[in-house]
């Protein structure tokens, strides 16, 4: 399999004109003569798109071509107002890179053939489904929104590998802050070229191109389906034809999609309205300075520097803000695994519930560290810590203050606990007898009773000791 990813870029304006790229506006309200392809309108290239292309090219270890040209890809379709798409064909801006992905514990290298700049098409909207509608409605707001197309070599062998590659690539785009990675809004789209070969054969068979893959789940399902379809076809003596197939999410099946246009006769030629793009070393060096640490580098560093397991590292590095949050907390409370556990369970749950990103978390890394320190020095129990966590996440209050205000400080006073222990034992003769007869799991019952009386504030370790000592007398 080879994958083609189209990533919408986080620019303010379109690729060749000043229209806004904002998603969700009134249809055709972000259009002008250039992006509607009206006669006489000329394209002027957006510098930021070139910055982003170089940035991604560097992150994917590509050669950055000092000179690249734009080309016209000609085809008729109602979402393409000019009758051609301005893309890059023979001399793209980036070539020959790679992306490493973790397959289990081993690293696998997927080669990236090219990264090029191109414009998006408009959007066709149908009132029923695309198959049954008697007409299409066209919105050109998306027309000429800048895209980077990232084309992999056919190095991907299984649907699982495809998903790993796509997830890492998406993380990279988000880390670089050049694409929001939103699949539902179409900011990150994937087409797949699928071909099979008999065991032992070196050359891959004819490929079919799959489109309409808009979630990781549907990508995996459609790849599974298509691989099986091709293998069955060949087993029955059939031949795979080169064609575009559309995945139907409801049926889980790929269909041949035949436009009225003969496919793949795009008659590419150099775009006469745009001159060759020249990028000098200084420009590339400037962009290189803005490169952040990339997800896979971060994963490896977190494993080495903090001794965290791969599972933790994958979660923490999946979001740049979350990774930063973790590191800031560890700086103050240097127990990486404890911090990681609290982030992965408590913090992520609260952030998800509140739909807040890690960098906007009301509970700051300093406050999380403060909370963990309160638990560590025995001021509060883990249980209390977990109980006040949602409130800390909502209010952004200092854990120390909240604990003091609410009187949650753990009680480690032996006399105080003992008096409650005595009271509970005195009123539970039946349970005491059963415990003494060997039903030791009743210890939990006593702990619960005491904790209830003490509003959860008893030092659990001390309480256990006192209870056991008393019960075994």
């Amino acid at each position: 399999m080879g994958l083609e990813v189209h990533a919408h870029l986080l620019t303010n304006s379109k690729l060749f004109c000043g229209c806004s790229t904002k998603f969700g506006a009134e249809p055709n309200s972000h259009t002008c003569p250039t992006c509607m392809g009206l006669p006489g309108a000329l394209p002027v290239l957006n510098r930021k798109v070139v910055d982003f292309a170089i940035k991604l090219g560097l992150a994917l270890h590509c050669d950055i071509n000092r000179r690249s040209i734009f080309a016209r890809k000609n085809y008729f379709y109602p979402d393409l107002p000019k009758g051609y798409q301005i893309s890059q064909y023979e001399e793209p801006i980036c070539e020959n890179g790679y992306l490493d992905v973790f397959m289990g514990d081993t690293k696998k290298r997927i080669r990236v053939k090219r990264v090029h700049m191109e414009e998006d098409a408009g959007k066709l909207v149908h009132e029923s489904t695309i198959e049954t509608s008697s007409y299409s409605m066209v919105d050109y707001n998306r027309s000429s929104v800048p895209l980077l197309e990232i084309v992999s070599e056919p190095d991907i062998r299984t649907p699982e590998e495809a998903i790993l590659y796509l997830k890492i690539l998406r993380d990279v785009l988000i880390y670089l802050e050049i694409c929001d990675g939103n699949m539902e809004e179409g900011s990150f789209r994937c087409d797949a070229n699928v071909s099979v070969r008999r065991k032992g054969e070196a050359i891959l068979g004819t490929r079919a191109e799959l489109k309409n893959l808009n979630s990781f789940r549907s990508i995996e399902r459609s790849l599974d389906y298509e691989i099986t379809r091709q293998i069955e076809l060949i087993k029955k003596g059939g031949e795979v034809v080169q064609e575009t197939r559309l995945f139907n999410v409801d049926e889980g099946i790929t269909y041949s999609m035949r436009g009225k246009e003969e496919a793949h006769d795009y008659r590419y030629f150099p775009e006469p309205d745009l001159l060759p793009l020249v990028v000098d070393d200084g420009w590339i060096a400037d962009v290189r300075k803005t490169l952040p640490e990339l997800p896979i580098e971060k994963m490896e560093r977190f494993m080495n520097e903090y001794g965290l397991p791969k599972y933790d590292v994958e979660i923490l590095s999946s979001d740049k803000g979350l990774a930063g949050y973790f590191e800031e907390t560890v700086k103050i409370f240097p127990e990486p695994k404890t911090v990681s556990n609290w982030i992965m369970t408590e913090l992520l749950r609260e952030l998800k519930d509140g739909n807040v990103s890690p960098k906007d978390s009301p509970l700051s890394p300093a406050h999380l560290a403060e909370l963990l320190a309160l638990i560590k020095d025995g001021t509060i129990s883990i249980k209390i810590g977990k109980e006040i966590f949602p409130e800390l996440c909502k209010s952004g209050a200092s854990p120390k203050r909240l604990v003091a205000d609410k009187g949650l400080v753990q009680i480690s006073d032996e006399t105080a606990i003992t008096s409650i222990v005595e009271a509970v034992i005195a009123r539970s003769p039946k349970e005491v007898a059963e415990f003494k007869a060997g039903k030791e799991k009743l210890l939990g019952f006593f702990v619960g009773q005491v904790m209830k009386e003490m509003k959860g504030k008893a030092n659990p370790k001390l309480l256990n000791e006192l209870l056991l000592k008393r019960l075994k007398d």
Partner: protein, 97 residues
């Protein structure tokens, strides 16, 4: 002949041109003679010469990423043969087996 009727029909289809049979005959001959004329270029020795995609020795100019006002929806859709709300309305195009 450098070109056949099939090619003319194919190219006409790609350009969404409807040609009647007489026109196909006529254009086949005409396009063929144009291509033969252009063939004279092949007499030149182009060994070691860079392909030229653009005739002028200048490079691309760039603009800053600043969003500007677009046309109004009314202005943008005023030439539409058919409209539906703010949308252009067009015939469907996909055929599925």
């Amino acid at each position: 002949m450098k070109i056949t009727k099939d090619v003319v029909e194919h190219v006409a289809h790609l350009g969404r041109l409807e040609l009647d049979p007489d026109e196909v005959e006529l254009y086949t001959v005409q396009v063929d003679s144009i291509l033969e004329y252009m063939d004279q270029l092949n007499l030149l020795d182009t060994e070691g010469i860079e392909p030229m995609s653009h005739p002028m020795p200048v490079v691309c100019v760039l603009r800053d990423d600043v969003a500007k006002d677009s046309f109004s929806v009314d202005a943008s859709t005023q030439n539409a043969p058919e409209k539906k709300g703010s949308f252009f309305k067009v015939p469907p195009i996909i055929e599925i087996d």
